[in-house]
């Protein structure tokens, strides 16, 4: 048993100085990174990581802290992407204004959906969240006049951003996207931190742990679930807008499918849900892995190791590994659920505890 410290010696809550310093340092380092890391591909991978972090941290507020497993976040992602693109392409509204409209739509819709579906629990809520996302996808697919249907919307170009006549950026390279992504990622992390250190966080987690108990302690379930959803939808929609502008194209089969929703959940599951660091870890595992497969780095590596490039296996690897990233996602989920249901973070923590020889100690978790 750990002896309880006298109150004066305990660190005051909410003032975790070290993590804050680390966060600031990481942010600063990432801020300077593009100065020497100029390879467009490296920047591209970084942007994808940021995107995954934003998506994961956003889902985390609803799924991780509040325990409401939405497998329909493609709806908010897609709405953010579509609304921003349509406003820009058809109404020439600059994206830094359009994104506000799109997140507002996503949040508004989310609260309407939430008020309806939040009385469902467990698997029924999951099913409803999928159904809602499918409805949105089918609308986008069929409301051709507005969304251009299955063809999607191709962006001609993004207007340059100027402030007071001074050009800030023309979005011609990947660098501006890098910084926008970094800023959004930092923001979502900050939001998670803020949630965790406020009344909201306590209430969200109470709902996750036991809805009936939470209800009896004066917590309005529908209200707080909706607050969690609103925060989550807000940043998920922002990530959708960011994605659409970065790629320059949206269509229903890339931003509104069940696969998109599942991938968002995966980022959190793999890292560890309900923790600030979880989605970051998840993004750092998933994105490089799928990029390595996609760009044939792994196949090339195997060839270097002696696998003959011209053998049948070699041919097969070369042709197919590039498509294997979703397969790897599947394998990862199965492995994680069976062997590390608390995600990579929980697994590592468990290992550390085992090596420190205090496995059974029920001490306070970091989240």
């Amino acid at each position: 048993m750990r002896p309880a410290l006298p109150p004066m010696l305990r660190a005051p809550r909410g003032a975790a100085v070290l993590p804050l310093l680390l966060f600031a340092a990481a942010l600063a380092a990432l801020g300077f990174l593009p100065l020497w890391m100029t390879s467009p591909y490296a920047l591209h991978v970084m942007v994808l990581i940021f995107l995954a972090v934003i998506q994961g941290e956003s889902w985390n507020v609803l799924g991780g802290y509040t325990g409401q497993y939405s497998v329909g976040h493609a709806a908010y992602f897609g709405i953010g992407a579509y609304a921003t693109m349509m406003l820009l392409q058809y109404h020439h509204l600059a994206p830094w204004w359009g994104v506000w409209v799109s997140v507002a739509v996503a949040v508004g819709l989310g609260v309407v959906i939430g008020s309806i579906t939040f009385r469902l629990r467990g698997p029924y809520f999951v099913l409803a969240s999928i159904a809602v996302a499918e409805i949105i996808r089918l609308i986008a697919l069929n409301w051709t006049d507005v969304t251009n249907g299955a063809e999607g919307i191709l962006l001609s170009d993004i207007p340059p951003l100027t402030i007071g006549g001074r050009l800030i950026t023309d979005f011609m390279s990947k660098v501006p996207f890098y910084y926008v992504g970094l800023a959004l990622a930092a923001m979502t992390i900050a939001v998670n931190w803020g949630v965790q250190h406020s009344k909201l966080g306590y209430y969200f987690q109470a709902i996750r742990e036991d809805q009936d108990a939470a209800h009896s302690l004066g917590i309005s379930l529908t209200f707080y679930k909706n607050v969690a959803l609103a925060i989550s939808a807000f940043f998920t929609a922002a990530s959708g807008a960011f994605y659409a502008l970065y790629v320059g194209f949206v269509d229903p089969s890339t931003v509104l499918t069940v696969d998109t929703s599942v991938q968002i959940v995966l980022i959190c599951i793999i890292g560890g849900i309900g923790t600030i660091l979880g989605p970051v870890v998840g993004a750092l595992v998933l994105v490089p892995l799928s990029e390595a497969l996609r760009s044939n780095v792994i196949a090339d590596g195997l060839f270097q190791l002696g696998v003959s490039e011209n053998s049948r296996t070699g041919q097969f690897l070369k042709e197919n590994l590039a498509h294997a990233h979703v397969l790897i996602y599947g394998v990862l989920v199965v492995v994680v659920i069976l062997f590390m249901p608390e995600g990579v973070l929980g697994f590592v923590k468990g290992l550390r505890r085992r090596f420190a020889g205090k496995a059974a100690l029920p001490a306070k978790g970091e989240a």
Binding site: A206, E209, K364
Partner: protein, 241 residues
Amino acid sequence: MAAPILEIDRVYKFFGGLAANADVSFSMEPGTILGLIGPNGAGKTTLFNCITGYYPPSRGEVRFEGRRMNGLQPDKVCKLGMARTWQKVRPLAKMTVLDNVMVGALARTNSLREARRAALEQLHVVRLEHKEDHLAGGLPIGERKKLEVARVLATQPRLLLLDEIMGGLNPAESEEIIQLILELKKTGRTQMVIEHDMKAIMRISDRIVVLNSGEKLAEGLPAEIVNNKDVITAYLGDSLE
């Protein structure tokens, strides 16, 4: 005689065609302890659920401090000053002991600092302050029961409903809970207690209500209840001499 703090007025609760509570009426005076007893399946927990907003009563009325409570959601009921514990304890398992109690305290404040102070105070009342950093899910049963009381106290209830708070405890732990209930009474809190340990309930209750198959079988002072023939029959079975 003070105005009653809680009035149960001809409450019925039906599930399908089955009456889990039928025509139950009684009232409680402020500052007293009422024991609610009855054999398995008598409808005690159902009545708790009707009082605290988990189900609306099918018929009849629940009044708290003169206010009609029918149809109010549990969170509203809690904010109005009536709080309950659970027969099967429901710790927020992956939160610490202190955080559990803070969740209760946050019903009365938005400030974490204030909630923390209030929570520590309640942990002191139930003598769990040394466990504040432990995860609630890892506590032994006796401490989980105490945690449940602390958490509910933190919502500052004037009426406390305790559902089998001593179930599964060893005699020493039960005694601690009994002392706690008596201490709370001294601070003026009104309490309704469901309990199977007859010795305990007879000791702590000012009045006792006996339910049997959903209906009120008897009501009175502990001494009257012990000698009530109907109650003996309900508990020990028909002697059929």
